[in-house]
Symmetry: C2
Subunit: 205 residues, 2 copies
Amino acid sequence: MGRPRTRDWDELRRELLEAAGRLLAQEGPQALSTRRVAHEVGTSTTAVYNLFQDKAGLLRAMFLDGFAALEERFADVPVDGDPEADLLALGYAYRAAARANPHRYDLMFGRPIADFLPSEADLARIRGTFDTLVRAVARCVACGRFAPTDPDDIATHLSALVHGLASLELRGALGEGEQADHRWRIALEAACRGHRAVTWAAVPG
Amino acid sequence: MGRPRTRDWDELRRELLEAAGRLLAQEGPQALSTRRVAHEVGTSTTAVYNLFQDKAGLLRAMFLDGFAALEERFADVPVDGDPEADLLALGYAYRAAARANPHRYDLMFGRPIADFLPSEADLARIRGTFDTLVRAVARCVACGRFAPTDPDDIATHLSALVHGLASLELRGALGEGEQADHRWRIALEAACRGHRAVTWAAVPG
DNA sequence: CGGTGTTATGAAACAGCGTTGCGGTACTGT
DNA sequence: ACAGTACCGCAACGCTGTTTCATAACACCG
């Protein structure tokens, strides 16, 4: 008994997330107010508190969605080609994800909204994305391309590098168009070269 | 004519900046409200609007202070030793600055407060810090240690890397104590090695 | 069919934020 | 002494996240 739901909860939840994602992508994090998001789908702020615990809950859902999208891009990267080429492809997939939705990237890896901090559980949920990178690195080490080093350490290095590059690029500090491409290539290739077991090309192009 | 200032402007400005810096360091960006900062030095919010244009002006001042502190640390790094060692020292100076005041680091390189975006002029003001890095890289290229590459591109690579490492470390993603040290070393050394003109040590320790 | 219980819902209240305008204060030039 | 004015802080406005509460709408029961 009790008053029946005039809207399906799952559907409303999806609509709210969609609206919030659109607002974040198009107008940035400042547009993400509970009133605004609720109004966008024709309901009131209470719905946000029913379906997500609070605003941080809404942000957490978007945060996890972002990592799901990143993981999807990673899944499209082959794992059976040249190990180092695959590794570079992961880097470029990361770059593409950041450029596709800069504000969401900020939500995932920056901290544009003060009152949201990913919990330990959220971070564990994310570990999977990082593991994809570790596996790709491990292949480079296993086949002798990379010097015998803890793949976790190398993956951490590369992860820091792509995050730094993405941050600089989204801030416009990497230059325009081709120059940004060039700098991504310079950095990623040098980073990989630095881990090679044997360097047969002393002078890069 | 006119009512005399009951407090010296420069002094009040300094006090406000100091209080804001203390609040940011100890309680994080959420504690940085105009009311709170003003109350901390025994004045009202109006002072903030007199001395800085608005809250963003206060944040901009702290932002510039942060870069001044970073520049000071860079100035302490020798420029007459082994070029690559000097370059690594710059990286560790950057790390030390980030760890000394994590919240201020976020303010400088992240975007913890939505309504503050550094202007073009601010970014130009900062270019000097980046130039220190470019010069150190140029020395490595000039003496033949690094392959002939645009020093700007290499400096961009290293800058992205240290920013990424600092971000990960401040988030606790680099592990505890020695492990974080180890990962900084692995990453910085591999990055430098990747730019070497000749690699004589094929397998790193 | 009417009453009742239960639940969904949105409007309104509350505290806090950045910001602005107004009125009072306290000194200086005449 | 008096007028003028630069300064200062209180209070208001519109916004935020969050909670509360009155209302609405159904299912069940007598």
